[in-house]
Amino acid sequence: MKLQAGLLAVVLAGSLAACGGSGGAGDADAAAKARGPITIWYSNNAEEVAWGKQMVASWNAAHADQKVTAQEIPTGKSSEEVIGAAITAGNAPCLIFNTSPASVSQFQKQGGLVPLDSFSDGKSYIEDRSGDIAKQYKSADGKYYQLPWKSNPVMIFYNKKAFAKAGIDTAKPPLTTYDEFLATSRKLVAAKAAKVAIYPAPSNEFYQSWFDFYPLYAAETGGKQLVADGKSTFASDEGKKVATFWRTMYADKLASPEKYTGDAFVDGTAAMAVVGPWAIATYKGKVDWGVVPVPTSSGKPAGEIHTFSDAKNVAMYSSCQNRGTAWDVLKFATSQEQDGMFLQASGQMPLRKDVASVYSDYFTKNPDYKVFADQAARTVEVPNVPNSITIWQTFRDAYSKSVIFGQQDPGAALDGAAQKVDQLVKQS
């Protein structure tokens, strides 16, 4: 990217904001009741596209006067950048079925989101559908700017063939405590069953800690978020235990600090992966896998282990004129029937309470997914606080320096990051 191009992108978006002045939020009450055609965006992976198309076709067949036009999220460096630009330009669609919870506070600050509480049944619908987990998705002002849609509870996948080669039990592999996990990893590498035991992305993007530190931190703390009650929580004994565990993995070359192109688990470079059920489709026919919960220092039983949700939600954008229709479509798309079809198509867990019992038929036919449904009841979201992405980048910088590259003591790095994060939380 050239500097001029960078400045231009920044400035054009800014100038569009400056040019605005009307037609955005409009009269919220009137808009909440307005009905008519709307547009929606959904993710671009094949399974979600297939589900999205049938959902839209099904809605349109019954609502000729409130037609939904759907498309995949336009491509960019990330969906969040595209959505941020669309908010600024005033051309965001009514609904986006792929809104990252980490970006919600930023979109909210931009004035880009409609609080779903503005619909008479908004709050009750969200809380009835998702149960207690819904509370994690409330914004700092106590309102819901996102509907918790689906989660991908992050767990440890392991390659049974590699484990067998290293002489490790493939039905119940010893991966419960940190000591067991380290011993198993050492065995795998020593037996040359894989080059490294596990390969979380070591790069420095703000979101990468969701797939190394955060799932284990959620498990170790029994479900704490990175920031709670206006203060960072991670510079605790539990946080330092998790950081020290991962530091040992890197120091002993059981994980790699080098960027990998491709999927190290599929390629056989790594014997384990830390990922959610969305990945199962990509492993089909390539890896004979098993799955276990993330480890804890003391080896908590599976039924007590929390993990990162890796959720994507649905938000309504303030440029939407026909919000009455948008709210109806949102409820239709997250109805029990449509959630079931989404589960069937993608294997991802609808963020509704008792997903295992509601869709018991599905889990009987697809037992591989049952463990994720159980885990879905104990997921931890990224904290819904202002400066969320800056907080995660601050954390990632400290983690990267200390844990991945060993240039600082992990405990000291977490202490330093906690001070900065506390400042960022205070600024909000």
Partner: protein, 297 residues
């Protein structure tokens, strides 16, 4: 002769004004206005907002600049890009001038070599980065060849070697373009000068130093300036090759930090302040280079 008011405004040849107008409009719309707006943003508490959203964007003086200059990550990024330029610019000049001189001679496979040097320049960065990751990772081809001499940690995750590796990568990738500039310049060096030098007893090396190098000086000025400007705007390589400026910010560039702060983290005011400082830095460097490389003395 008395000039009419139209002539006074549009000059003796109004058609000339018509010809330059599209470019002036282009420059104003996509360069001058955005640059001016970036300066404006850098002095305000500015963030992008939806049309119609009521937001407060107060004037904050030099606060954004203070934030940027007190941020160790930004200071390091500016230091990194200096390291990059110190390696990249001289290497670019030496290699492109040397190779273009060789390619200008009547050597076999000349067309093949010219195309070979140009191919990386026109190939998508994402694809080429993939190849370099393969070459320079710890089990890659380069380390296999080096054997026990291979660095540990490997090139792209070594805080001392990451930026030099990126600089070498960019030199290689851009070389084809600069070779082309020198090849064009070499066509303007009179063959008589080489003949005269030869009659004076100059060998190939002396001819190169005393005829070729001074003969292509305007092209060298251009190459140095372009390499500096494109180098200072380094983004793709730290973003893709070293996984976001790694290890531990050792290959982060100002534009990468600008992207993180301005776009990802929603602080375009801080991003703009970095951008403005970068523009000033590049202008100073360009003036210095013009003074020392472009001088006829």
């Amino acid at each position: 002769m008395r000039r009419g008011p139209l002539t006074r405004v549009l000059g003796e040849h109004p058609v000339g004004t018509a010809f330059v107008t599209p470019y002036v409009v282009f420059i104003a719309a996509v360069f001058a206005y955005p640059l001016g707006f970036a300066v404006y943003m850098s002095f305000h508490d500015y963030f992008f907002a939806a049309p119609g959203a009521i937001v407060d964007r107060p004037f904050v003086g030099f606060d954004n600049y203070a934030t940027v200059l007190s941020d160790p990550a930004v200071r390091r990024a500016f230091g990194n890009v200096l390291i990059f330029l110190v390696i990249n610019v001289p290497l670019t000049v030496i290699l492109s001038l040397g190779l273009s001189t060789a390619l200008n001679s009547a050597i076999r496979w000349r067309t093949f070599f010219r195309v070979s040097y140009y191919v990386p320049y026109v190939t998508a960065s994402v694809a080429v980065v993939g190849v370099w990751l393969f070459l320079f990772n710890s089990n890659g081809l380069v380390n296999s060849v080096l054997g026990p001499l291979a660095p540990d940690p490997s090139w792209l995750v070594n805080s001392h070697l990451a930026m030099p590796t990126v600089a070498i990568y960019v030199t290689w990738k851009q070389l084809g373009f600069f070779i082309l500039l020198y090849l064009a310049a070499l066509q303007n060096v009179s063959a008589d000068l080489y003949e005269a030098a030869s009659m004076d007893g100059a060998g190939r090396w002396k001819s190169f130093l005393n005829v070729t190098v001074p003969g292509v000086r305007p092209a060298t000025t251009l190459v140095v300036l372009l390499a500096t400007v494109t180098g200072a705007n380094l983004f793709t390589e730290p973003y893709l090759l070293t996984g976001g400026g790694g290890p531990d910010g050792a290959s982060a560039s100002p534009v990468l930090i600008m992207y993180q702060r301005g776009i990802e983290q929603g602080n375009p005011d801080v991003g703009s302040a970095i951008g403005v400082l970068l523009v000033i830095g590049v202008l100073i460097l360009a003036l210095l280079e013009r003074r020392f490389v472009g001088s006829e003395d």
